[in-house]
């Protein structure tokens, strides 16, 4: 089917002047070419596309990279012992990074991995991304497969003791970054991946995560501080039997953020939890969490817990879907998205969806939007707690359910500190 004229024009305009990365092994060149073909076939999104009804893709479509003020030092995970991998303006920064060596972990630059004739990512690159285009198009993910030149490739073969920390930095106020990360967690292995930092004026990250049977993958991300960030991110995950995937994202500030998480529970008894807290202040803040979880095996559990605190015209969006395939009996699916609107100018738009083809299934979803509980506020104040402090306590309480999804208490504490700091600065 031919694309509508507006769509093909917009796609052409965005792709003009871009060319696929040069070099690479033949399989990598093929994967990129295939992605480009698919991308021109589906076209980049337009506002009238159902999946972009609440979020304008304009910021991602502009052919020229917008300028974005370089923010203060990005918040890192300073209290955690990590293997640090730094990307500056979207390029691996060996100087600033730790040695890429760690027990039970194969770690390598994506830019290097794609040059090798034989590499395990050959069977994964673009595969989860392509499969993740079920029911809806995700063109910016396909864009990522086509154009990403750098990123990290991780293969955990056992319990990896230190988390790998992807630390995004920026030196150029017009940096455009397209990063691709490939992750494989082998049978029984465990890996924690952290992400933080400002990344780029416009950032597109894509990650494919393949978790083998009994593997565990934890992902904690802080999208922090820079007010003018534009980021489109995709995490695609495929889960084997009894495997565990947990992802949490804290987003403070940012102009336009669209975080998509697409998970398929492929093996029986697998568990996937996706959670996030986003705090936004001001008309320029737009944050979109779009989640799609497919249950395709028996007795799997999925949870989505998203909280947004919005004020001064900030907008929050949640689109969350649970798809239960016919054979996915004994599915336990839970989804909650809530917003706390600190004033009447803030907006929260939510679209929770269930699509269920199995009969022995427990799925619940809910979405709420509300203001600060005045009775609770008065109770706190009547005990001598000043208004702003009382409000902060209630905000922290509101996001607590999402933060509780982070298993590592140390990491949770780091994020709580970031939240408290954000609230403090808003006084």
């Amino acid at each position: 089917m031919a694309l509508a004229k507006a769509k093909s024009d917009a796609t052409e305009a965005r792709l003009a002047g871009l060319s696929l990365p040069e070099g690479g092994a033949s399989w990598a060149r093929e994967a990129r070419q295939d992605a480009l073909n698919r991308l021109t076939g589906m076209g980049l999104p337009q506002r009238r596309d159902e999946y972009w009804r609440f979020t304008s893709p304009a910021e991602f479509l502009a052919p020229e990279t917008p300028r974005a003020e370089i923010a203060l030092d990005a918040p890192g995970f300073d209290d955690t012992e990590v293997l640090r991998v730094v990307f500056t303006d979207g390029v691996f920064d060996a100087e600033a990074s730790d040695d890429l060596a760690q027990e039970n972990l194969e770690i390598e630059r994506y830019a290097d991995a794609v040059t090798k004739d034989i590499h395990w990512i050959k069977g994964l690159l673009g595969v989860l991304e392509t499969a993740g285009q079920n029911r809806v198009d995700r063109p910016f993910a396909t864009f990522n497969t086509a154009f990403a030149e750098d990123g990290i490739v991780l293969r955990a073969t056992g319990k990896v003791s230190k988390p790998v920390h992807l630390d995004y930095r920026r030196s150029d106020d017009r940096a455009e970054a397209v990063l691709r990360h490939m992750v494989r967690v082998e049978d029984g292995a465990e890996l924690t991946l952290l992400e933080s930092g400002v990344g780029a004026a416009r950032l597109n990250t894509g990650m494919e995560v393949d978790i083998a049977d009994r593997g565990t993958f934890h992902h904690v991300r802080m999208q922090g501080r820079d007010h003018e960030r534009r980021a489109a991110t995709h995490v695609f995950a495929r889960l084997g039997e009894e495997s565990v995937f947990k992802s949490f994202t804290l987003s403070l500030n940012g102009m336009m953020t669209r975080n998509e998480v697409i998970i398929t529970l492929k093996g029986d008894d697998a568990v996937a939890h996706v959670a996030g807290a986003a705090l936004g202040d001001g008309r320029d803040f737009h944050h979109d969490d779009t989640v799609f979880i497919t249950h395709d095996a028996v007795n799997c559990e999925s949870r989505q817990v998203f909280k947004k605190v919005l004020r001064n015209g900030a907008t929050g969006v949640f689109q969350g879907k649970i798809l239960v395939e016919p054979d996915a009996q004994k599915t336990d699916g839970y989804q909650i998205s809530q917003s706390l609107l600190l004033d009447e100018d803030a907006n929260f738009l939510a679209k929770p969806e269930l699509e269920i083809y199995a009969d022995d299934v427990q799925c619940s979803h809910g979405s709420t939007s509300g203001a600060i509980d005045e009775t609770a506020l008065f109770y706190l104040k009547s005990r001598g707690i000043p208004e702003d402090k009382a409000q902060d306590l209630l905000v922290l309480a509101f996001v607590a359910e999402a933060l509780a999804e982070i298993e590592d208490e140390g990491l949770a504490e780091t994020l709580r500190g970031q939240l408290a700091g954000w609230l403090e600065r808003r006084r």
Binding site: Y379, G384, K389, A397
Partner: protein, 251 residues
């Protein structure tokens, strides 16, 4: 300690007069009781004194140790030494009881220009007071009042009072929903705090709490006014004859 003069209060949103001229003076170290039928305005009085939104004072004044209360924010009134034990303590999911207590304690100290307590010091203080009220460590860890039984909520109010050591304590129907044992714990808690520099205003519907906490003065409130004032014997009279007789007599 507390001096209320000609206090008239209406609802902010509606044209409904609730307090129609209340005069009341509680001296330092005294315990006053306010009794009265449901809907007479007892809780409204306690809310207006502590600064809750939704009410409009149309006439009169309320002073704590000579300082005008009605101009202050609720947190300033608390720091000045006013405390209200709520008739319906509020549940706050996600805020730990201990965090809540420490935040309140330190905020009040800060407002008064005193040093804040360290986490360790504070923990010791709370544990001691909690023990007397049979509040266990588990209850301190849980979110404020969430999942607490009626009696636990009321004991938690008294714990806050014991920790914050206010000068003027208002107890709004702290006895309702308490069994005999809990009533004893709560009254012991209150009695332990009685001292020459601290006053109490005990609002209750029934006389039984006053068996444990002996008041110096008893007021009967009806239809937004204090209609009768007397000694402890007034409470017994109400208990025996009910409010109806008393109302007839007043009219």
């Amino acid at each position: 300690m507390l001096k209320i003069s000609g206090l008239k209060v209406k609802l902010e949103e509606e044209d409904k007069q609730i307090l129609k001229g209340v005069d009341l003076e509680v001296g330092a170290g005294q315990v006053h009781a306010i009794m009265g039928p449901n809907g007479s305005g007892k809780s409204t009085l306690s809310y207006v004194l502590s600064g809750r939104d939704g009410y409009e004072v149309t006439e009169g004044s309320a002073e704590l140790e000579g300082v005008d209360l009605l101009d202050m924010e609720p947190e300033e009134r608390a720091a000045a030494g006013l405390f209200l034990a709520f008739q319906y303590p509020v549940e706050i999911p996600g805020v730990g009881n201990m965090t809540f207590l420490r935040t309140a304690y330190n905020a009040q100290r800060k407002a008064r220009g005193e040093d804040e307590a360290s986490a360790a010091e504070f923990l010791k203080l709370v544990r001691e007071k909690a023990k007397d009220l049979k509040i266990d460590a588990e209850m301190l860890k849980r979110p404020v009042n969430v999942g607490f039984s009626g009696g636990e909520k009321k004991r938690n109010e008294i714990l806050q009072m014991a920790v914050l050591e206010p000068k003027m304590c208002i107890l709004d129907e702290t006895d309702s929903g308490l069994d005999v044992d809990a009533m004893k714990l709560v009254s012991d808690g209150v009695n332990a705090l009685r001292d020459a520099g601290r006053s109490f205003l005990v609002i209750t519907h029934y006389q039984r709490l006053l068996d444990h906490i002996t008041p110096d003065v008893v007021h009967i409130m009806a239809n937004g006014r204090i209609v009768k004032t007397g000694g402890p014997e007034l409470a017994l009279e109400v208990e025996k004859n009910g409010y109806a007789d008393l109302m007839d007599e007043v009219q």
